[in-house]
Symmetry: C2
Subunit: 415 residues, 2 copies
């Protein structure tokens, strides 16, 4: 193994003092605890089981809304959305008045720890399953950053690597497949083995969790395959840490139909035209969730009083929380200029839609499983090392999923 930098670095007020070992942080996209529970109980994750017993497994609180971009941005910056600025996958841009994807680094208000680590001398690698996250998460970073989705079109100039497919030795995965995530992990293994990286962030996709329940054979096989790659990462000498961006729950009625509250329709009926319900779960990957999640922001025209709409939403069945802008900033740690006048969360089995016509429910395969609200906030944290006493106490308080690089780099007792 060539030498590994132990140069400390700082990012957004946090200090990182890396050990002379490769470090791999995995975002198991959409991994509600139940997926681990089911696979572990059935003996399908033997390497993860040993990891837990030697190291640590606990629960951490994610950022809200419990969406992918929000939490991936938090993980690589170590701060909540109020600071990094990514409030969803999608938002109404107050500057342009347009509804746009929030995929670009231009929306990120702080630097990433991956960039800082790369400037300190770490050989950093960042592999995402979905290409939508790549540009934002690898912003400012020297090193390797590519997606499984577009691993066939990498260039040295843009991605820091020209031979991703050859290196991984697998065919280009389809984005709606388990292979998109497995390829991401396999890329991490290959980068470690080739000694091309010694600090890795691997961010998977939740297509499988949107599609399958934890007990389904497809989900169990998927987690068994994840376990194999975790074993490969451990065998390559890495400290391995894993968390999730959000959990996942079925959002269906007892007959299996999606349990949707069409909020824009309800508000338009009550208050007239001009109210916009923005669904920040919206992203280009329509087969996952049909833009239906348990979180919405409401933009009101000046003619409609905020308090009237607040009171109306506050008594709707299925809605669990509603906040005025300033309350959402304080309670949900959201950036005040990238949300609406109201922020709305729905229950464990309820999603919020705009209008019936807006959503293509036919694209959902095998029922609706989704996220975005309070009941997908708590996610697992795994670390392959025992925690130091200091980090054990941190784990016993209110740790966050975006503390994971802190835990992985600073928290291991045997590093």
């Amino acid at each position: 193994m060539s030498s590994i930098s132990t140069q400390p670095f700082t990012c957004n007020g946090r200090h990182y003092t890396p050990p002379a070992r490769p470090i791999v942080v995995i975002c198991l996209d959409g991994s509600a605890d139940e997926y681990l529970d089911c696979a572990l109980a059935r003996g399908r994750m033997p390497r993860t089981q040993v990891l837990i017993c030697h190291g640590y497994r606990g629960k951490v609180r994610g950022a809200l809304p419990s969406f992918t971009n929000v939490n991936n941005a938090s993980i690589v910056t170590g701060v909540p959305p109020s600071i990094h600025g990514i409030s969803g996958n999608y938002f109404l841009d107050p500057d342009s008045g347009e509804e746009v994807m929030m995929n670009s680094a231009k929306f990120l208000r702080v630097g990433t720890l991956l960039a800082e680590a790369s400037h300190s001398g770490r050989r950093v690698g960042m592999v995402t399953a979905k290409d939508k996250l790549r540009e934002m998460l690898s912003h400012g970073m020297q090193g390797i950053g590519f997606s499984a989705e577009k691993a066939d079109t990498v260039t040295l100039e843009t991605h820091g690597i020209a031979d991703a497919l050859t290196l991984v030795g697998k065919p280009l995965p389809k984005i709606y497949s388990p292979e998109a995530s497995l390829f991401t992990l396999q890329a991490g293994v290959a980068l470690l083995r080739a000694e091309r990286c010694d600090l890795l962030y691997l961010s998977l996709t939740d297509y499988m969790q949107h599609s399958y329940s934890p007990e389904d054979p497809e989900a169990l096989l998927f987690y068994a395959n994840i376990d194999t790659e975790i074993g490969n990462l451990l065998d390559a000498g890495a400290i391995v840490a894993a968390t999730a961006d959000h959990g996942m729950n079925a959002k269906q009625r007892h007959d299996g139909s999606p349990n949707v509250l069409y909020l824009e329709t309800l508000l338009t009926e009550e208050f007239g035209a001009g109210i916009k319900v923005i669904l920040p779960i919206t992203d280009p990957y329509v087969k996952h969730h049909g833009a239906l999640g348990s979180f919405a922001v409401v933009h009101l025209p000046l003619s409609v009083a905020v308090e009237r709409v607040y009171s109306f939403i506050n008594t709707l069945e299925g809605i669990t929380e509603v906040y005025r802008r300033e309350e959402a900033v304080r309670r949900l740690e959201l950036p005040s200029d990238r949300i609406g006048e109201l922020v709305v969360l729905s229950g464990r089995d309820v999603v919020i839609g705009r209008t019936e016509a807006y959503h293509d429910i036919s694209a959902l395969e095998g029922g609706l499983r989704s996220h975005g609200g309070r009941y997908e906030e708590m996610v697992p944290l795994l670390l392959s090392e025992p925690l130091t006493p200091t980090y054990y106490r941190k784990a016993q308080a209110d740790p966050r999923n975006f503390d994971i690089f802190d835990f992985a780099i600073n928290g291991g007792a045997s590093c």
Copy 2:
């Protein structure tokens, strides 16, 4: 085995159609998922592991506040606190103006399914670890109902059994011990083996969870011993279901000191004397939590405007939710006449106290672990049978811990 009644019965609008097999429902008091996770990963719960793989493990939502009496009352009635009336362990009785324990069946506003089952011909047994629950939970029931705590003073007239200690064959357990819970399970095993009961509710105590983290050897041993008794119940031919009344989290600062927000002190400083903060976690078992939990109700004198206090509490650091009475009724399913003008919940690592002088923190052994709020709401549900398709769909929605008798009696596919 003598014959077991399959006579259907009804309670609070729910219908139960029991199979001709013994049924055991366990309330694993304070069993946050992490306790199962840690013990299962270390191979300390082999019978439970098989149970999960053959049957079901998932998450269910408890009743709020996430306290013992509230959730035990919900489990035996199948309804939320708004209907059964038990809003805490402790409350300010509006009739008397006194602060009193809410242990008595006189506070229960509906009948229990244990009583209904016993009237339908089931031989019902109800064993609690803490005596405080016994009278309320066995109200109206024909059959056997006693506590581990007072198993030495049972009478046929009051408890339906005269020989509890002899039957169990164990010494009377101390209430601050793992044996209090294990005795409760062992009593269930003995009642099954002696064919004296065929429908059992066994409700443990959370002394161990208040005292130990999931990884602690004492907790692992405790769950290993629970597993042995679950195995004994299965070997006696029972359908076994388990859930928890609430989870458990460390409520400490990083230095290990209790993370308490003394709300009555803060409100008195701001608004003057006369405000009462009632802590419904309060119970006679002071070593558990020192009456410190993540839930409080606030009673205001007429001279203080509710909205002013609402706004003040709403911005306090560590407070996660505050509701006016009517909102608490709707959102938290609480009985309007047994809460204050305001209902307050605190964060994962924060508890609410009255005043510093009110609480005896010295009684807490080895740090504060407690519950009562939103972050102790989600709990496990285990069932030894695979679910029918109908109950699998129910489990995939927003199932509650107080659905457990429904799942155990009506939900098993192989019954």
